[in-house]
């Protein structure tokens, strides 16, 4: 009787345990499926929300889903733990009842008819052991042979190492052919091949027409300038120093009523880079998830002359690197010398084109590891383009030949991630390449890349670029300090911590240094002593950098207000007016014209 009860308990608990554990295992995999609260739906919705802020329906949906996901996760976890405890309890019941059931059941075996032949067993066992040993050895041998280096395919190094793609452009007719050929060779089975081809053919045909139409004037443009000789070849002017020799600049303009606005165009793709001007051409770049593009616009008419897409570059990532909203994929300003123009994107893709938009070369420098997004601008010195590449993987500075893209020199740096841009400083009779960085400001020989001096003085995230005047280099960064360095020997002249710029770069004349902080204070310092001369509290934000032209400082605040100061010891605020669109980029200057890139558009202000 008692045994029957025990047996029944054991059977019931066994059935319970089996069904319950199946349930638990399914529950376990469900919990794993909804991995800790990171339901993909919610994540994608959140990203969607980042792109289109202020959509209440979407926000409500996210909130509901998020709550649901959390609840489901914690309830499931709770169920799982309770389930495990119940299972253990039942297991104990089963074991106890089963043990008691079997407790008094001793199996008394009958005498074995055949006595055990130990020798036979041992002989058998020996056989098994030998088999096992031979099997182990065979497996080991096979593995050794399989993994031996001789059997492995030699890596197809040719294709991989060849990250450079050089397309020599001789003339417009020949150009279309090699480019298409290269496209096909490089990515034979890319899904977007068709599209790309179409794009390129379209591009080239338009270029063909372009070339025919423009070729003649473009060739003649150099010897016989129709437009001003004053160029703005890089971020903050020709040497990236924030000084322009432009004259006859417009005093006031307004987008809302079109006062002094020569033209205005919507920017095809977004970017925080600044426009540059060479002759009658305006260059800038734009990028989003779909494409990275370099644009050329006519300075007089505002007509888009050409677009060059950075595509089919070997080594270019399929997935865009993570960048923040306020940096984006095209934060670096392009650079030109009037014959070539280069652009770089946060993907590490650098492209170089001639004035007609024919790609000369393109390569990928390795995706920079940068938590906001790569932002240093390019700078052209002589026949090389200089790239400050301070990222987390391998910080370095490189110079590439403008015609071929071949590396002229490259110096590794010990700096942390930096967002500021290179400048060329004139010290004595020589040019120096000056790079900001954390922790040092460094001067290089721009011809060879040889380090001339190095001053460790900065920390944190360096976004502002340096500037120089009269052989002195000034560098400053938020949460760090402002320093003045003698470019001749790299000695520290003075330092100050009172007002520091975050994004905006300083600008200097022989006597005064001017800088704008991101919290709205614009100040001037004595370049010799570092003494604070004057401060303007403007209650706004400055990301754009000041540029000195015609003895005036032109400075945009983020809200799109233009502030004009006198670039002298008095440093008076001459004028301050709304232009109409939020502006972060630094404007480009040429005689009688200013080209401004705003959040949405690019426009040209003309004095006439």
């Amino acid at each position: 009787m008692k045994k029957a009860i025990l047996r029944n308990i054991a059977i019931v608990s066994a059935i319970f345990i089996v069904t319950f554990s199946i349930m638990l295992i399914t529950n376990y995999f469900q919990v794993r499926g909804t991995t800790p609260l990171q339901a993909e739906v919610v994540e994608t919705l959140k990203e969607l929300n980042d792109q289109q802020a202020g959509n209440p329906a979407l926000q409500e949906q996210i909130r509901q889903l998020d709550l649901l996901a959390r609840k489901a996760y914690f309830v499931r976890m709770d169920h799982l733990m309770t389930g495990v405890y119940i299972l253990l309890g039942m297991l104990a019941v089963f074991i106890i009842s089963a043990r008691f059931y079997f407790a008094h059941e001793k199996e008394i075996p009958g005498k074995e008819i055949d006595p055990i032949d130990e020798w036979a067993i041992k002989t058998q066992a020996r056989k098994y052991v030998v088999w096992a040993a031979v099997g182990l050895a065979a497996i080991a041998l096979i593995m050794v042979v399989m993994t031996s280096p001789y059997l492995q395919k030699p890596p197809s190094g040719e294709e991989n190492k060849e990250t450079e793609m050089i397309v020599q452009a001789v003339d417009a007719d020949e150009q279309a052919m090699p480019q298409e050929a290269v496209t096909e060779e490089a990515i034979p089975d890319a899904p977007t091949e068709e599209e790309e081809k179409e794009f390129i053919t379209e591009d080239t045909t338009s270029q063909d027409i372009e070339a025919e139409a423009v070729e003649a004037p473009a060739v003649e443009a150099a010897p016989q300038p129709v437009v001003s000789k004053v160029t703005h070849h890089a971020f903050r002017g020709n040497q990236s120093n924030g000084i322009s020799s432009a004259k006859g600049l417009p005093a006031r303009w307004d987008l809302s009523n079109g006062t002094h606005i020569a033209w205005r165009q919507e920017v095809p793709r977004r970017g925080y880079n600044s426009p540059v001007i060479s002759g009658n051409r305006v260059f800038f770049s734009g990028a989003d998830e779909e494409a990275r593009e370099l644009y050329c616009y006519d300075l007089t008419t505002g007509e888009k002359l050409w677009t060059l897409t950075a595509a089919n570059i070997p080594g270019s990532p399929a997935q865009m690197p993570q960048t923040t909203e306020d940096t984006g994929l095209a934060a670096s300003t392009v650079a030109t010398n009037g014959n070539q123009v280069c652009a770089i994107f946060a993907t590490g893709d650098i492209i170089c084109a001639d004035m007609e938009g024919r790609q000369l070369w393109a390569k990928n420098l390795g995706v920079p590891d940068n938590h906001y997004g790569y932002a240093s601008s390019l700078l052209i010195f002589g026949q090389t383009v200089i790239v400050q590449y301070d990222n987390r993987n391998t910080p370095k500075v490189m110079a590439f030949d403008l015609a071929t893209g071949a590396e002229r020199w490259s110096k590794s740096r010990t700096e942390k991630v930096t967002w500021s841009s290179p400048i060329i400083a004139s010290v004595g009779n020589a040019s120096q390449l000056v790079l900001m960085g954390n922790p040092a400001i460094t001067g290089y020989n721009p011809q060879t890349g040889e380090q001339l001096w190095r001053v460790e003085c900065l920390s944190g995230e360096v976004g502002s670029s340096a500037c120089s005047a009269n052989g002195i280099i000034f560098g400053a960064s938020e949460y760090s300090k402002l320093v003045a360095i003698n470019g001749a020997d790299g000695s520290l002249l003075w330092e100050s911590v009172e007002y520091l710029p975050e994004v905006s770069s300083p600008v200097a004349t022989k006597d005064n240094l001017y800088l704008a902080t991101s919290y709205g204070v614009v100040v001037s310092f004595d370049t010799q002593t570092g003494e604070l001369r004057k401060e303007h509290e403007l209650n706004t934000e400055f990301y754009s950098s000041p540029v000195i032209a015609e003895g005036k400082i032109y400075l945009f605040s983020n809200d799109g207000k233009m502030h004009i100061f006198a670039a002298n010891d008095e440093f008076n605020l001459i004028d301050s007016f709304e232009t109409g669109e939020r502006t972060f980029a630094t404007p480009a200057f040429t005689d009688g014209k200013i080209v401004v890139r705003t959040e949405k558009s690019i426009y040209c202000v003309s004095a006439n």
């Binding site: 991995t35 800790p36 609260l37 990171q38 919705l45 959140k46 929300n49 980042d50 802020a53 202020g54 979407l58 926000q59 996210i62 909130r63 998020d66 709550l67 959390r70 976890m77 799982l80 733990m81 923040t324 909203e325 938590h371």
Partner: protein, 190 residues
């Protein structure tokens, strides 16, 4: 001759000798190993506890998924004395946040384990609810790239089972998890 001798010595005697010899070898080896280790075995100061070095940690997110416990023993810890008490906190809000409120679409923490309290203009005090924290390190990443790095991951001593081989340590990308002595059971920032 020799064979004969062996034959004479009964197998029993031979076995007894072998057994004695075996015992001597076994006892000897015990003593040898003990002797060899006695100098190395340490008591309390021995490095017993697994802990994360916040300087090395790269917040890869494996602490959340690889701990043997159902909910990881790794939790986020907040160093108040390092914190900037910012309103726009990189650990509290997602990057690109538009409105600074506590709506789900704005917050970084997937479990809502970070709460904040208004102190005075413009400062907020941040607190972590350990029961909700799952050690994913998202806030730590946010704080170390946009803030003072006052949020960091540590293994909670009261939760950790101190496995002989820590499963997170074996997968840690930056070798940030090592054994530490009791005296530095936490690598605190404040």
């Amino acid at each position: 001759m020799k064979q004969k001798n062996e034959h004479k010595n009964s197998p029993i005697a031979r076995r007894r000798f072998l057994r004695l010899f075996g015992s001597a070898v076994a006892g000897g080896s015990i003593l040898a190993v003990t002797g060899g280790l006695i100098g190395k075995a340490r008591g309390e100061e021995a490095s017993l506890y697994w802990q994360i070095d916040p300087q090395k940690c790269t917040q890869c997110g494996r602490c959340e998924t690889h701990c043997v416990l159902p909910i990881s023993a790794v939790k986020c810890i907040h160093a108040n004395k390092v914190c900037g008490y910012c309103d726009l906190c990189g650990g509290y809000y997602r990057s690109n946040v538009k409105e600074l409120n506590t709506a789900a679409e704005n917050l970084m923490c997937p479990t809502g384990a970070i709460t904040r309290k208004y102190v005075e203009d413009p400062y907020f005090e941040y607190t972590i609810n350990e029961d909700l924290c799952n050690g994913c390190g998202k806030c730590v990443k946010g704080c170390s790239s946009f803030g003072n790095g006052s949020l960091y991951l540590q293994i909670k001593r009261d939760l950790c089972t101190d496995c002989n081989e820590c499963k997170i340590a074996t997968v840690c990308a930056s070798n940030a998890i090592t054994r530490v002595p009791l005296s530095v059971a936490y690598k605190l920032k404040d």
